[in-house]
C-alpha cells in the first residue's frame, strides 16, 4: 500500500508549495508600522537540517519545492546531490549538511542506488537565488517565515560554529535560529 501511495504522490507531484501559511509575524501587525521607522525587522525562512534550525533571508529564496526525482551528475563534487527539472529548467541541488558537519557524507538521493529513508515526507528543496545561476538546497523540513530585528540577532561567540558560513544566532522567544550565509555554505 505504501508503494501505491508513493506512486500517487509522484503522480500528483506539484513543485510549488504555498509559502503563505508558513508566515508567522513576530510582532502584531499594528505595531509593525510603528516599528518600521525605528528598527526594521528582516524576514527569514527557517528550516531544519538534522535537528537544528537554520534560517536564511527570505529574499534569497526563489521558491520551495517538494523533492522531485534527481539525476546524478557523474564525477561531481560530493556536495552536489544531482540535478532536477523544474518547469523545464535544469537546476543543481546541493547538500549543505556535510559542510555544516551534520553528517559524514551527503545522502544518496539520485540514481538507482538511492538509500531508503534519506528523504522524508517533509524534505524540501529551497531554490536559492545565486548570481552564478539559481541552485537548489536540500533541507529536512521547512519551518516558517520569521521576522528578526537586528537586536534579536546575536553575533557568534568564539568557539561557536566552524566557519564563515554562519552569520549569527537569531532569538525569538525560546527558539534559536542559526543564521546561514547560504552562498558561503555552498562554495
Amino acid at each position: 500500500m505504501a508503494a501505491f501511495a508513493d506512486i500517487l504522490k509522484q503522480f500528483f507531484y506539484a513543485p510549488d508549495e504555498d509559502v503563505g501559511e508558513l508566515f508567522r509575524p513576530s510582532i502584531p501587525a499594528d505595531e509593525m508600522t510603528l516599528l518600521a521607522s525605528q528598527e526594521r525587522p528582516g524576514e527569514y525562512l527557517a528550516f531544519f537540517l538534522a535537528q537544528e534550525c537554520y534560517a536564511i533571508p527570505i529574499d534569497q529564496v526563489r521558491e520551495i519545492v517538494r523533492v522531485p526525482p534527481l539525476t546524478e551528475i557523474p564525477r561531481s563534487a560530493d556536495n552536489l546531490l544531482g540535478v532536477i527539472k523544474l518547469r523545464g529548467e535544469i537546476l543543481p541541488v546541493y547538500d549543505v549538511k556535510m559542510r555544516l558537519k551534520l553528517c559524514e557524507r551527503p545522502p544518496k538521493i539520485a540514481g538507482p542506488e538511492v538509500e531508503p529513508g534519506s528523504l522524508t515526507s517533509t524534505s524540501r528543496i529551497l531554490i536559492v537565488r545565486d548570481p552564478e545561476g539559481d541552485v537548489g538546497v536540500l533541507v529536512d523540513a521547512v519551518r516558517e517565515v520569521i521576522r528578526l530585528k537586528p537586536s534579536e540577532i546575536e553575533s557568534l561567540a568564539p568557539g561557536i560554529g566552524g566557519g564563515d558560513h554562519l552569520v549569527g544566532l537569531g532569538h525569538l522567544g525560546t527558539d534559536l535560529f542559526i543564521l546561514l550565509d547560504i552562498h558561503k555554505a555552498l562554495a
Binding site: P69, I73, P74, V83, I90, D130, G133
Partner: protein, 729 residues
Amino acid sequence: MTTSTKGLSDFVAEATEILDALSRDLAILDRRRGERLEPDLVNGIFRSAHSLKGLAAMFGEQRIAQLAHQTEDLLDRLRLGRIELTEKVVDALIESFDTFQVVLAETSRRERSAVATERAEAVSQKLAQFIDSGTVEQSDALDQLELDTQVRNVLTEYEEHRLRENLREGMAVWKVRAVFDLSDFDQGLARLNSKLKSLGEVISTLPSADPGDGTGIAFDIIFGGKVETEKLRLALTALPASVHPLFQFQPQPAEPSLPLEQLVSPTPPGAEPEHRSPVRVAVSNAPQQASGALPAYANPRFGTADAMVRPSPKQPDGEGDPVGRGLTQTVRVDIGRLDSLMDAVGELLLIKANVARLAEQASRGGKPPPGQLWGHELHRESRLLERKLDDLQKGILEVRMVPLGQVFDKLARTVRRIARESGKEVDFLMRGGEVEVDKLIVEALSDPLMHIVRNAVDHGVETPDERERLSKRPRAAVAIRAMQRGNQVVIEISDDGRGLDEERIREVAVRTGILTRAQAEEMTPRELQRLIFLPGFSTASRVSELSGRGVGLDVVKTNISRLSGMIDTHSERGVGSTFTITLPETLAIVRALVVSVSGRVYAVPLNAVSEITSIAESEVRTVEGREVIGLRGKTIPLARLARVFELPETELRRCFILVVGLAHRRLGIAVDELLGQQDVVVKPLGGRLRHTPGIAGATDLGDRNPVLVLDTGALIEEVVNSERRPELV
C-alpha cells in the same frame, strides 16, 4: 533615454540589421577596391546609412544619427562621382561602421561613455574632411545623347551622373519603352528590370511622356550596357518593350558576351511573379521628381521591398538573416518558409478535426462503428499526424538556420584591421558562406572564429619582408572554408604562415610543468600541437594587444565543446597551420540515442555516433593495459562509460559499443543497453555545472527526472588524450 525597453530592443534589432547589411556591402567594397565602382553597391551603402540616420534620429540616439549623417553625405558625393573611392575613404567608411557598432552596443546596454562619444565625433570630423576636399571636374557628355529635354529635366543628379559614367566607360545607352497593363504593371516592370539588370544598368525609370493606349501605362527606361542592340531586342522579345538606341558603343571582339541562351530565356507574361528578384534598382530616385501619377511606385519605401521579402538565405550571395551577436534575438525569415509552416499547421487542424469526429463517433451511445474499421481510421490519422508534425519540426528547424556568411563578413573586417595594425599584407579568402547552421551556433561561433583568425594574422603569418626572405609570396593568405558533411559542418581556417613551433611548445610545456621532460620528449609533433589548447598555454613571445589578452585557445576549445563540436589543428613548420572545427548542424533539437549504463539513462546525440556494434566481453583486448576493440580490421580505443563516469559496473557478457569521432580520432564507448531513439531538446547545464566534463547538457525524455546528454567530443578528448596527459582532462 526615455524609450521603453521594447522600443529600445526594436531599435537595436533594426539598427543591427542595417549595420549587418552595411557590413556585407562594405566587405564587398573592400574586396573590390581598385576595381570599377559598382553603382548598386555604393547606392546600397548610401541607403543603409540613410535608413540608419532616420532610425537613430527617431529614437533620439544622436551620436549614431550624426555620424550616419556624415557617412551619408560622404557616400552621396561618392555615388555622384564628386570624390573618388580611395583606400583612405574605404578605411574611413569601415572606421565609421566600427564606431556605429560600438555606440550601438552601448545603447543596447543603456550606457553612454565619453570614449565612444569622442570616437564618434573624431570619425565624423574625419569624414567631413573628405567631403570638403573632393571635387572632380565633370565634362558634360550628356549632350551627345538624343535625349528629349523633357526627359533630361527630370533626371536626378545621381541619374545624370550614372549616365555620364556609362558613356565614359563606353557603354551603349538605350531608351527602352515598355507598355504594361495598369492592373499588373508592377510585376511586368519588375520582370523587365530584372532582365535588363542582367545585361547592364538601369539608369532611370520614368513614366513615359506620351502614354500608351487606353488601359496601359508606358515607361521609358534609360538603360546602359555592353550589349548589341540586336541581342537586347532578342532578350526582351517576350516582354512588351521596344528598344531605341540613344548612343551606340563600338563592339570589341575580345569582349566576352553573355551566352545567348541566358539572354533569351523566355519569361512568358503571366508566369509566376518573380517576387524574389530584387525590385529596387535606381528607380526609387526618379519618381520623386516625376509627376505624382504613380503613388505606389513613387513611394520611397518601394526601394526596400526586397528587404521585406527576403531572398532565401540559400542563395550564395550570403544574404539572409543578419544578426548582431548578442545584441538582438530576432531571426529574419523567408516568407516562403513561413508559408510552408502555415500549411503544416493548417493540415494539423484538419487532422485534429478528423480525430475529434472519430472520438465523437466512438463516444456516441448509438451504434458503434465496427471496431476494426474505426481502429483503421484512427491509425491512419495518427500516421498523418506524425508526418505533419515531422514537417512542422523540419520547418521550424529550417527557420532557425542561418548562413555562416554573416560571421565570415565580420571576420573579413577583423583581418583587414589587424593586418593593417600589424603591418602585414593578407588576402582573406572565404568559401562556403552559404552553409547554414543553427542561429545559436552561428552566434556562439563568432568569438572562437574571431580568435583563431586573429591568431592567424597576428602570430601565424609573417611580415612582407620576412616572407620575401623566405621566398614566399609577400601577400600572405588566410582562408576560411565551411563544408557540410552529413549532419555536421566542418569549418577550416588555414594560413600559409610560419606554422606552430613544436620545439617551443615542448619547451613551454616543460617550463610550465604541464609535462615532464621525459613525457615531452616522447610526444609526437601532432600531440605537441594539440597542447596549445590547454588552459594558460601561449607560446607567443610577444604578447600583443590583439591576440594576447590572456585568453587562449583553451577558451576557444571550451566554446566549441559547448556547441558539442570538436577542434583540431594541423600545422607544418614554415608552411602554415590549419584549424578544423567540426560542429553539429543544429543545436536545438537533436536525434538522440538513449542508452543505459549501470541503471542510469543517458542520451547520446546520434549525429556523433558513426556506428553501433555489439561485442562479447572476450573480444576486448588490451594494449599497454588500455582496452581496445577491433572494428573491421581497425583497432580503436574502448571506453566503458561506467568506468569513465565512476559508476558501479555491471557484469555483462555482451555490451553495446557506440563508435564516435571522425577518421583517426575514434573511440568506442561501451554501454549496457540501447533503449531507443528520440528527438530531444538539449539544455545546457548552466551556472555552476557549466564545466561538467563529458556532459553536454540535460534533456527531457518525458520522465520526471532530467536525462544527461553526453558530450562525445569531450569524451574522445578525455580518453584519447588520457594516456600521456591526464592534466588535459
